[in-house]
């Protein structure tokens, strides 16, 4: 008998707590697979955020450090400075990274901190019950934008990948999505390149992953995937925004 599918060693036996149709699970798996394939699990220290992925430390099969809301890049900086030979990554959502933690992410990039950040953008605060995020789409209704997000009042959705790409210290910046198998493969490739960047001491790397929130969007899992493609991707274009190899 041959093994056709095996769960990655990068994840623990613990069952994910994520809602049906939430793509956090896929993104966890991609990161875990990349770490396993690059033989980095014994060397990796992950930093978990505050947000739906707050329990990420239970799932990744490597040393994990839980951070305060938004501070994952600062915590990862502390870990990386203490252990420069190890592989350090932060896993953050959009409330964490694009709102309360903008200073930390911008300055980690600005210092060229040699860490990898996985940024999960689902245009909403999931954990706290579906409030507006800086990444919420115009017109999108959330518990704190009950009439739909209005740019005049709350600005237009923030494009983090583009913003960080303007920073000199940022080495690899790419936006991906996991709404279908083709894009899942591309996302994995980007995550791998980001970790390679860190291994080659190229500095800060970040992969933004467009993700779903069926529960707080109020949609079926399938409709949520469609919503990413139809509403998010046109505003958040996929692709690479910074790559050390292309610039050389």
């Amino acid at each position: 008998m041959s093994v056709v599918f095996e769960k990655t060693k990068g994840l623990t036996e613990k069952e994910f707590h994520y809602c049906p149709g939430c793509t956090h699970g896929i993104i966890h798996r991609l990161v875990a697979e990349v770490l396993e394939e690059m033989d980095l699990l014994g060397d990796a220290i992950g930093v978990a955020p505050v947000g739906c992925a707050v329990l990420a430390y239970d799932y990744f099969n490597c040393d994990m450090h839980e951070a305060a809301h938004g501070r994952a890049p600062a915590v990862a900086t502390g870990v990386k400075r203490a252990l420069p030979e190890k592989t350090v990554f932060a896993y953050q959502g959009d409330g964490d990274l694009a709102s309360i933690g903008t200073a930390e992410i911008v300055h980690a990039a600005h210092r060229g901190e040699n860490i990898t950040v996985i940024f999960v953008n689902n245009a909403i605060y999931g954990m706290t019950g579906g409030q507006m995020a800086p990444t919420t789409m115009i017109g999108q209704r959330t518990t704190t934008s009950p009439f739909g997000r209005n740019a005049e009042q709350t600005g237009a959705p923030i494009r983090i990948a583009e913003m960080l790409a303007t920073i000199e210290g940022a080495s690899f910046i790419e936006r991906t999505s996991v709404h279908n198998p083709v894009h899942i493969r591309k996302a994995k490739k980007a995550i791998r390149t980001a970790f390679e960047c860190q291994q080659n001491r190229k500095g800060f790397s970040m992969v933004e992953v467009l993700s779903t929130c069926p529960t707080n969007w109020g949609m079926s899992p399938l409709a949520s995937l469609g919503w990413v493609a139809e509403n998010m991707i046109p505003y958040y274009p996929l692709g690479n925004f910074r790559n050390p190899d292309k610039e050389a």
Partner: protein
């Protein structure tokens, strides 16, 4: 009774208490009963806090995936929730979160609901400041319908002042429900009534009486 009953309403209307009592009342029926707590809005006073009591009484409780029912502020709705909704032999009661906001989560399950065999209740508490008039109730109902993508099919007069409730509140609630019922052409299906008051109500109100025992409030919360 329809196979799936969804309980919606304003936050503080007594949805969860009503849902628990309804579930316990159904247990005597032939089919298994499941209570789906889909409240992702409010971290306190959720029906899943009574998991032990409910399960002792043969009601299956589906809350989140942690297996711990208190203090987790991650939505984390279990995929297990799909089970009772799609199993034609099970009665399912869904306790949605309060307000249109709490009802939004229903949208992610809409596609598996049995259209013909599904009741969507709106619980009315005329003692709450935001749900005292027909205008307020119209707004609430259309909000819930807008967010969930479901139509309300019936009303529950659950007007109460916690343990201080008297028949006066229930009568006022009934009047409000009758107004809504006429304006929106919705039937009054249930009255949630404290057990101690059941005898005092007039016998000619349309709808069933569901005697309410207050499970979600600890003993020390009673009295003032």
């Amino acid at each position: 009774m329809k196979r799936v009953t969804i309980v919606t309403g304003h936050f503080g209307s007594g949805k969860s208490e009503f849902a628990i009592n309804l579930a316990l009342r159904l247990v005597s029926a032939e089919a298994p009963v499941a209570l789906l707590d889909l409240d992702v809005v409010n971290p306190y006073f959720r029906s899943r806090e009574q998991r032990e009591l409910l399960e002792r009484n043969a009601v299956r409780v589906i809350g989140n995936t942690f297996g711990k029912d208190v203090g987790v502020d991650v939505p984390a709705i279990s995929a297990e929730a799909y089970g009772p909704l799609q199993d034609p032999s099970t009665y399912a009661i869904i306790d949605a979160g309060g307000d249109p906001v709490g009802a939004r989560v229903l949208g992610s399950f809409r596609h598996v609901l049995p259209r013909e065999n599904c009741e969507v209740l709106c619980v009315v508490n005329a003692s709450r400041p935001e749900t005292q008039s027909i205008q307020q109730m119209r707004r609430l109902i259309s909000g819930i319908e807008g967010e969930s993508g479901l139509r309300i099919t019936g009303l529950v007069n659950n007007t109460h002042m916690l343990e201080h409730t008297t028949t006066r509140e229930l009568r006022r609630g009934f009047e409000l429900c009758r107004e809504i019922s006429e304006a929106l052409e919705l039937p009054i299906l249930y009255h949630g009534v404290l057990q101690s008051l059941v005898e005092e109500l007039p016998g000619d109100w349309p709808g069933e009486l569901v005697p309410i025992a207050m499970y979600l409030r600890e003993a020390w919360m009673h009295g003032s």
